[in-house]
Amino acid sequence: MATISASMIPCGQYRTSYAKDTTIFPTPASRAFAALGVALLAAAPFLVGSYYLNLLIQIGYYGIAALGLNILVGSTGQISLGHAAFFGFGAFASAWLNNTTGIPVFFTIPLAGLMTTAVGMIFGIPAARIKGLYLAIATFASQFILEDFFARAEWFTGGSYGSMANSFSLFGWTLDSDQTYFYVVLGWVVVMFLLGANLLRSRDGRAFVAVRDHYLSAEVMGIRLTKYRILSFGISSFYAGIGGALYGHYLGYISAEGFTILLSIQFLGMIIIGGLGSVMGTLMGTAFMVLLPELTTELSNGINILAGGNLPWLTDGLAFMKEAAIGLAIILFLIFEPDGLAHRWRQIRAYWKLYPFSY
């Protein structure tokens, strides 16, 4: 019996403890698949070229930041239109710490995360009092306050000229190529996603979900709304700060212009497309958002070649088409797949699990 249950998937709910109910990997096979995925990714620098590694690195640092937003929006039911500003704050903070104090980049990345947490909790204070649309506008203000701060605080960000960020180095090793920096990002992705998945099955994680589902009931049950709302902002900003710091040291240069409201909306787009409240969906949504502009480029190049290479409106309009494609994707997902890619993935899996008796 023991051997059967280890190798096969039980047909029904046979869990006998809370621990089993909240496990991250429901079967040994799913755990093996996740480990295999990470191992495959670790081999990626040997298998694919710089172009694809660059995309994977982007998915990595945006994915970390998006997961933070998903904890805030998807799990705690708050809203933030200022996520890009926290992302930027992390980038500037890490570069500033490294440039002024000489602390190695290896340590400034988590330190920048903590600094961003502090800033995020300050801007999260309004969440204690207001919710919904009003909170959206309050966080919208934080976006503009921080953007203006980036453009003016020359001591911290270099002002409108931006700031240089040193490359990641550790014990004399400099990890500045796509091939090597990929491992830095991969390491952080694994750590942050495991933390995120575990957070949601902890006492605090359940409190977040309770606040989201019915804040009055949660309060009646003894959950301190103010504490958990602000904590959620802090955790979300921590993720944004780590993602931003990884972005800054990858690019080598941080410009105050890189963190506009558009990026905040894109973060929201990532978690909507991926699936609100889903850790795995966050990664899917981020991958979707990073790859969509690249696919648009490929597609328009393809059409251009098919048409004999003489469609100037196509090359001219490419920049606009990329933006439009993102907008269109968000609208289409909201209409046809409001639960996101994670939901679609579960359906596909269920279909094959039950195949051919899928009724």
Partner: protein, 415 residues
Amino acid sequence: MKRTLVSAVAVTALLATAPAFSQDSIFVGHIADYSGATSDVGRPYGQGVADALKWLNQNGGIDGTAIEFETVDYSYEVPRAISTYKRWTSQKNPVALQGWGTGDTEALVTFVAKDEIPYISASYSGHLTDPVGKSPRTKTPAPYNFFYGPSYSDGCRGLVQWAADDWEKKGGDGAPKWVHLGDNHPYPNAPKEACAAYAEELGFEVLNPILYSLKPGDFKAQCLTLKQSGANYAYLANTGGSTISLLKSCDTVGVDVQFVANVWGMDENALNATGKAGDGVAWVVGAATWNDDVPGMELVREISKISDPSGEEYRVGHYMRGICSVFFMRDAMKVAKGMDGGITGPNIKAGFETFENHAPADLEGVCLPHTWTAENHRGTTEVLVYRANVADDGSFEMEHVFSADLPRRDDWLGW
């Protein structure tokens, strides 16, 4: 051991994905703004660069070496320019780059110096002119940066000279007042301090700068501030698009100020748009204009047919500067081809630094002659000032009113 293994595999992976290079072709990256905040002037300039590169390829390239090039529209967003640069350096092995804005060019200074890739920018920021960091004002030396034309600071200094001259002719009383208008952005900020210092030297009273966005909008508030400040000369540091809005707003408010504009701040398109509001604006012009009767314009018109086979399109001044920028690069590449190692980044840089009062021979009369040395990248100190005379029906002519030949002062290097 492990490290060498990793890098060996990394190099192999890199080589496997890089496109096949034939010996007789080189890659040149072209970063342009066709859809961002400065696209009004970015389009004609970028078209000039692209047309000139295509024309060179149709006519034998660099003495037989073809130029592969890719144009990337980065929408005036610095991070996009940087990621494009990183993509090119990891995949395409560029020998030179044709760039655009000040923000991205200054951000890339240390990158191109490390990778030894000459960067010919459309940013004429004075900060790019000190290749060794001799000047105490230089924050970062820019050994691999070149640009065509007078720097923004020099252009503004030329305008200050013209303004001093103009003030005297008008018989103005006391010290004239000078004010800088522009966005809080690396490009408009580049000449701000250098030019203000020179204006003070020439006896101007310099007022507090006024901020107006690079994105066109309603600037009546700024115009009212300008009116109240009592300024006599207002320097417009943005590009044409926002300057049109500003001139129109100021016309409505009734500001009586002599406007002077940066090289990207005014052109024929802008004058068509402003109409009478643009009357009297003086600005820096960096090359021959479309209707000029000089021998080199024949070649420019031929190059223009690459993107406009009918040959009827009127090209604004920026188009000619784009062509000049490419032709100076071509001449430097020709010099490099004769050196050990052929057309490589360091050789192209060395090629540029051999030029003394040099202008591309086949563009006679179009491009200003330039001199670059290993210690001084201020290519030219000649500033041509033009003024717009707009008639009541909106037709206009551009009058060449002043030429400044600025001294090569040591304290102006890199500033």
